[in-house]
Structure formats: C-alpha cells, structure tokens
Amino acid sequence: MTSLLLVEDDEVIRIAVGRTLERYGFTVTTASDGLAGLDRFREAAPDLVLLDVMLPGLDGIGLCRRVRETSQVPILMMSARGDSLDVVGGLEAGADDYVVKPVDTSVLVARIRAVMRRAAVDPCADPAADRPAELVFGDVRIDPGGLEVTRAGRPVALTPTELRLLLELAAHPGVVLERHRLLRDVWDYRWQGGDSRVVDLCVARLRTKIGAERIETVRGFGYKLRR
C-alpha cells in the first residue's frame, strides 16, 4: 500500500483530500505546516509527498528543498496559482510535478499514480533494458538494468522522474526530443495537459547532477543527450 504525506494548511482541503485519497487506498499522514511536515516526513518515511506551496512557517519550496537533502522520494506540489513563480520555485527545489487547486480527485490520483510508476520503474518493462549492459555518455555511465547512474565513477542520486527522463533521452541518443513528447512519455501527460516548464526544470536539475554539457538544448524545440 502506498503511503503518502499530505502537507496542507487549509483544514477543509487537508481533511477532504486526505479522506478521499484514503478511499482510493492510500495510507495518508497529514501535517498543517512546513516544520510539522518535515517532522512527519522523518517519522513516517512516506512513499510520496503531496504539499501545498503556500504554507505557514517553512513554506512548500523550503520543505521541498529540505526533503531533497536526504531523499529522492517523489514530490507533488499543489499550487493555487498555476501561472506564478511558486510553481517554478517548487520545481527548482526538486518537485517532480505540480497540480493546480482546485484539483479533481481523478486528476490528483492520476498524477500520483504517474509519479509512483516512475518510482517503481520495472527494469524488464523498460525499452532501455534491451540495450547492452551499460550506456556511456562522456563520463556518465547508466546501468539500465540496475538503474544506477555514475558520473566519473561516483554514483549520482537521481529522483525517479530524473532517472526516467535520463533513460528516455538515453534511449534516443543524438535525437532531439520535443518537450511535449517528454511530457507524454515521462510524465504521462496527454496533448491537452502538462506544463513544459516541468520538463525544463527537471532537465535543469538533471544537468546539475550529470553535467550541464551532457544535455543539449535545441531552442523552442527540445533536448538531446550528447555522447
């Protein structure tokens, strides 16, 4: 059973979303502010964190950053403003994706499942698994079977989303992948959904981990992995 931590200061949303998610079979722990959220996270070690951007005390972006210091657990942000800088801040801090409030339960559950699928990448189901044991891009080595990535011999800690993005780029070496295609293939969005900033900021995080020169930006188009 998937356990998740819900950090939300609005009592009605916290209770209602929590109960609804329990009906969908998730184990839900809740917290009403950032610092309490951090404590709960350390105690409960949830499989996924669902947090509001605007929180009293430690805000969602700060909490996101603190969680990322020790963990690569999937993080989904909830924002009241999809068009604001909150979203960018949250994604920069390491969130995997975001939803805009008010969110339909079906949409929220679909997003949670999509990000959990990435966390539970089945090596056999991955197309990259058919490839030779190791993929090499400069000083970056990817083991698609063991899902391990090293840079100059040292292991690189990637979130499930970052790993999926890297595997997707690695599966098409030298090919420019459009951002909307990545939204579909990595984030499970359809044409109508998804925000390409999610891709941009995930690429930015990936670059800081495997080296900026590894991923080439084709402006207005997409990204490709450089050998």
């Binding site: 009605v12 949303i13 209602a16 909307h180 109508q192 959904g193 930006t217």
Partner: protein, 405 residues
Amino acid sequence: MAVLAAVAVTVASGSIGLAIHQSTKSRQLYYGRVTARGDLADTIGSVRADQQVPASLVPPKLAAEALTTTSPVTFYDASYSPQPVMWAAQYVDGNLVVAQYPMASEQRDLEALDRHTFYAAAGTVAVLVPLAAFGAEFAGRRLRRAARTAHRIAAGDLDARIGPRGRAGDEVHDLSRAVDSMADALQHRLRTEQRFTADVAHELRTPLAGLVAAAELLPDGEATELVRDRVRVLRSLTENLLEVSRLDAQVETADFVAVPLREFVGETVADIGFEVQLSIEGDPVVRTDPRRLDRILTNLLLNAHKHGRAPIELGVSGGVSGSVSSLTLTVRDHGPGFPPDILAEGPSRFRTGAPERGRGHGLGLTIALGQARVIGARLEFGDAVDGGAIARVTLPRIPDPTPDT
C-alpha cells in the same frame, strides 16, 4: 502645407515688387513731364515757331491732343526709337511747337530696380519655402504620429505613448501630453479592474478547492449530484474568469510544438462528454500550442452543445504534413445558429445573446477568441446556409525552429 506656404511667399513678394515698380515709374514719368514742359517753354521762348523736330516724327496722338487746348500737353512714347522719350507740345500762333526729353536712363533705372526686386523675391522664396515646408512637415508628422498612437491605444495597445517631443508649450506638444496622460489614466483604470477580477477569481479558489474536495466525500445520491453539478459550474466559472484576466493582461505566450492533429483532436473529443462527429482529411501535423488549441476547441464544442443541436461536427481540412500552409478546424452544429450580435461584433463576456440561450455564462467564446489570438489563429463565426452555427479556426503556418542550440 508646404505648397501653400510657397504660394503665399511668392504672391507677397510679387505684389510688393509690383507696387514699388509702379510708384517708381509714375514718379519718373512725372519728372519726365515736368522736364519736357520746361524744355518746351525754353524752346517756345527762344526759337518761337521754329520747327525743330520733323513733323513726320511727331506722334499723331500728341498733335491731335495739342489741338484741343492752348496749354502744353505731354505724351510718353515708350516705343520711340532708339529710346523712350517724353514729348511736350503746344500750339503757339497756329504752329505746333514740340520738345523731347529722352527717358533712357530712367528706363534703365526701372529695369535695374525690377531686376533687384526679382532677385530679392526669389532669394526670399528660396529661403522661406524650405523652412516653411520643413516646419509644416515637422508639425504634420508629429500630428500624424499622435493620431497613429491614439489608434494603437484604441486597438488595445495600452502601452503605446506619443512621448515628449518638440518644445514644451507648442500645440502639438500639449496635445501629445494630453493624449498620453489620458492613456495613462485609462491603462491604470483597466489594470485595476483586471487585477480586481483576477484577485476575486483567485481568492475564490481556496474555498472552492475545499468545496470540490468535500463534495467528493458526500455519499452518492440525488442531492449529492445536484451539489456536485453546481460545484462544477462554480469551478468552471472561476477558472474561466482567471483565464480571461490572464488573456486580458496579455502576458500569455504560446508554446509551439508539432502536433499530430488526428491523435490530438481524438483526445479532445474523447474528453468532451458528448457525441461529436469527427472528420479529418489525411494525417496533418501542425505546429501549434496544443493546450491552447484544446481550450479553443473545447469551448467551441461546449458552446455548440449548449446552444446548438446535435449532430455536432468537428472537421479538420487543408494542410499537408510537413509544410502546412493553412489548416482549418471547423465546429458545426445544427441549431438556430449564432445570435446576430455575435456575428456582427464577435463574442463579448457574460452575454449569451437571446435569453433562451441562457445556460452558459458567456465566457467560453471570449476565451476561445483570446487563445486564438495567442497562437496566431483566426477564429470566425458564421451560420451555415442550411442552418446551424459554424465556428472556423484557421491555424497559421509556424516555421520549424532552427536547431541552432
């Protein structure tokens, strides 16, 4: 303006030149007459009835005039050869006594005067006309610029300003400042209104998020369905208001990607929740912003569903894969057609036309139009010949980005 100034300067210097010419000439003739009369008196006094000038040379007009009086008469003969002369004549004891005074030097003086007047006038025109033309053109250009800016503001470019140009205190400068401050005031008012709408919609979101989540917890039943339906309406109204205020603020930018329309339109129709007859020619791929195109199509389809009658058709036509030049998406229903005011003026918010069209909140078409503008598409509303409303979205050709990193 410049032509007018040139004509005015030419006429003025011409008249002044003419006046000087006339007065000089009449003064010369006066002196000529006096001198000729003096000569005549001398001639009469000294020679007395002595004919000095051959009679054949005396102008007949002078002779005839002298017959009528006993006083001396004068006559200016401009055509006398080799030089113009002033004649004086008098009958003394039945004999015509004449005297001539040559007017050559006066004639030369007058010609010189005319020449100088002409040069002076021509010089004045040469200097003044370009100056006048430049001045007039400068003022005209500033006025035209002011008019253009006012048109741009009227067309919705609230940042357009004429700007401080020219000397403070001149009329064009004052007019420009007045237009600019009017635009500032309008912009401020409009921005305040837009911000208020956005803030209201945004503030509604948090309680609405709780309401949406709480409504999901209600036990299923008729009452729950009623509540959920109203929550959905309230939510869509809030979302649409936010979308309209974002479009009004003109901060939206399109995110163009290559979209395979067959797959894309299929997904849009699958999400809509009622039956739509789909027809697509070929397998077109077009560069557009899929989220915004989806908003346009969804709003047009919802509008057709609410206000028109089935069957609702969505057609995609034109355009070749790769080099799409013009691709048209058409949403058509078989209802009463668009109300006349939408056909005449386009959609406006919170107006759904006839009261019986009632059920919408009238933002859908406004949003469709605004999003079409963001992706550079043309959205036209019309009625089919055999009844029903037709909305047509024509997508522009967006060139592929150059892969220059």
